[in-house]
């Protein structure tokens, strides 16, 4: 915890605590009706969760197209059958997993290495840290367009210029390597997040322990694998799970750069559902996709909530 930031507060609280300790009343303090204080939050969250969830489930069993209101009716499992016999669905599921796996691998591996790097003292380290984490605070639509136009544009982009200046043909990134391009943008956004979390964890590492290991003759690499990495295990699992929640449903970056194309090369599950719902107005089909997205997320959420629950002291 940053005591520095709360320094003044800390002393104020300490002073008041001392006074309170001496004047402590003997009788039990009354308990205000606390249920009524928690109830509003619980109620709105419950509504926010249950109503759309039930509606999604309901729609997923209905023929329901906004363009064709006459064809409405109970569909049984037809929407699901159409979905799983649709090659676009499997392609989008594949794309979702490729996107997730690649970005996770890149951000966790490099995030860990960078966390160790930025834990070392060097001149101007604090400023360098600010610069590295900056991309995480850039709004997704800006990140995507900056990369698409200023960096990766084959004619006017910086990468195209670099390619030409070493005598290479500039690459039309989003036409030739659409998936790799999206992965690059997402990694640029999420690497700072992984670094932020992992650096916080590295900093809480007991330096005496590492010093002891060094005294015993452990080299930097041995120290990394035997002390740092085990210590980071928990933080890495949190990074993996939180990124998974977000990366399973990447939307803005794809919407702005490739619109799922070319073809369905970068259509992930989220974009497929969006296209079904708001372009084709197939409410039933989109809802079936939504149910599958929810199931996927819940598998991850189960582990995340368990990990966090272990740490929760109430």
């Amino acid at each position: 915890m940053t005591l520095r930031g709360h320094g003044a507060l800390f002393w104020r609280v300490a002073a008041i605590s001392v006074v309170v300790e001496f004047t402590k009343p003997k009788r039990q303090a009354r308990k205000p009706g606390t249920l009524i204080l928690v109830a509003p939050s619980v109620a709105v969250l419950l509504l926010w969760m249950i109503v759309p969830l039930v509606m999604t489930l309901w729609f997923s069993f209905q023929y329901y197209n906004l363009l064709n209101p006459a064809g409405a009716g109970f569909a049984g499992i037809d929407n699901y059958r159409f979905l799983i016999t649709d090659p676009d669905f499997w392609a989008s599921l594949g794309n979702t997993l490729i996107l997730l796996g690649s970005v996770l691998a890149i951000t966790v591996v490099f995030g860990t290495l960078l966390a160790v790097l930025y834990d070392q003292p060097f001149p101007g380290r604090n400023i360098a840290r600010l610069l590295v984490v900056a991309p995480f605070f850039v709004m997704p639509t800006v990140s995507a367009l900056i990369w698409k136009n200023l960096m990766m544009h084959p004619i006017y982009g910086v990468l195209g210029f670099l390619a030409r200046s070493v005598g290479l043909e500039p690459v039309d990134w989003f036409a030739e390597y659409p998936m790799a391009s999206v992965i690059l943008i997402l990694s640029w956004e999420w690497l700072p997040f992984a670094l932020l979390i992992l650096l916080t964890a590295v900093q809480s590492l007991d330096h005496e322990q590492r010093e002891a290991a060094r005294m015993d003759g452990a080299g930097p690499i041995a120290q990394f694998f035997h002390i740092t990495l085990p210590h980071l295990g928990r933080a890495i699992s949190v990074v993996v799970m939180i990124e998974t929640i977000f990366l399973l449903t990447v939307f803005a970056e794809i919407f702005v750069t490739t619109s799922g194309g070319p073809g369905n090369a970068t259509t992930n599950l989220a974009f497929l559902i969006y296209a079904r719902a708001l372009i084709q107005f197939d409410v039933g089909g989109a809802s079936a996709g939504g149910v599958i997205a929810i199931l996927l997320a819940n598998i991850v959420a189960f582990f995340l909530v368990r990990t966090i629950a272990r740490r929760l002291e109430v």
């Binding site: 915890m1 709360h6 104020r12 609280v13 008041i16 006074v19 402590k24 009343p25 303090a29 308990k31 205000p32 606390t34 249920l35 928690v38 939050s41 619980v42 969250l45 969760m49 759309p52 509606m55 729609f59 960078l114 790097l117 930025y118 070392q120 060097f122 001149p123 360098a128 600010l130 590295v132 984490v133 900056a134 995480f136 605070f137 850039v138 709004m139 997704p140 639509t141 800006v142 367009l145 900056i146 136009n149 200023l150 006017y156 210029f161 979390i197 939180i242 929640i245 449903t249 702005v256 989220a270 559902i273 708001l278 939504g290 929810i294 996927l296 909530v305 966090i308 629950a309 109430v314």
Partner: protein, 273 residues
């Protein structure tokens, strides 16, 4: 320790090299925003040029730009205030009067965050259409408030937990009611924590780009949606895109830098400190 001098140099070079590489797109965006449209697409790209505020002036002079910016501010502040209004009483009750249900309630709130927005896009869209909330600021404020409520409750809870119960009890002895206890004692004493919670919520609202892209088009569209309109082929104006983006990103970047540590706590629900 002679060999470590090379190591230290290597670390410094690596540390700065990677930092500059990661920051380069943002730097280039800011640089491009001061160019003319012609200079922005010049090949080879120009590092030295006569800076101009032309693009900023042009972006500002578009009547609708200010309305997009206003929408961003309105929905971010609105969503944050809404979340805080619901979360403060809840977090207070759970932190100072925990019951057997508290732990379960907190974890359940966290689990609602796991519902992917795209899974409920269809019903929310239809509900909003039915209620006339599509493309309204109120609609987005509702969504953003609910979206951030679990994180806000969670963060406030951890900050409130750190405060000794005795102080509140002293206030109670003086006859303060629950709301007075919260308003006159708890909030002033935990102000840094409450402020950083609000800041995190502001950042998340400001940068949110799923609901804003799907639920707004013009009247209530925030900057995320406005910037996305530059993706169309006829919107290929690098300097103006950069100027609009710089204005949209700058305040949040500063907020983010200021609240990094609290951000880690909030985003990991206190699992990493």
């Amino acid at each position: 320790m002679r060999s470590s001098l090379t190591a230290q140099l290597l670390i410094a070079v690596l540390g700065w090299g990677i930092a500059l590489l990661m920051f380069f797109p943002i730097f280039w965006m800011v640089l491009t925003s001061f160019k003319t449209e012609g200079a922005a697409i010049a090949t080879p790209p120009q590092l030295i040029f006569a800076p101009t505020l032309e693009s900023y002036a042009e972006v500002q002079s578009r009547a609708d730009y200010l309305s997009f910016a206003f929408n961003s501010i309105a929905v971010s502040v609105g969503g944050t205030v809404l979340a805080l209004a619901f979360a403060i009483p809840g977090a207070y009750a759970m932190a100072f009067h925990p019951s057997t249900r508290t732990r379960g309630t907190l974890l359940w709130m966290l689990s609602t965050k796991m519902l992917p927005p795209v899974g409920v896009l269809v019903p929310i869209y239809l509900l909003f259409r039915g209620a006339g909330l599509l493309d309204t600021r109120i609609g987005l404020i509702l969504i953003y408030g609910l979206m951030n409520l679990p994180i806000v409750v969670w963060m406030l809870f951890t900050f409130f937990k750190e405060m000794p119960n005795d102080i509140l009890e002293a206030g109670r002895m003086d006859g303060a009611k629950a709301w007075g206890e919260v308003w006159y004692l708890l909030l002033p004493l935990t102000l840094p924590g409450v402020a950083s919670t609000g800041l995190l919520s502001l950042i998340l609202c400001w940068n949110e780009a799923f609901w804003s892209l799907n639920l707004t088009s013009s009247a209530a569209a925030p900057l995320t949606t406005f910037i996305a309109s530059f993706s169309s082929p006829e919107g290929l104006f690098f300097a103006k895109l950069s100027a609009a983006s710089t204005v949209a990103v700058a305040p949040i970047l500063v907020f983010g830098w200021l609240s990094q540590r609290q951000l880690v706590r909030g985003l990991t629900f206190g699992a990493v400190k």
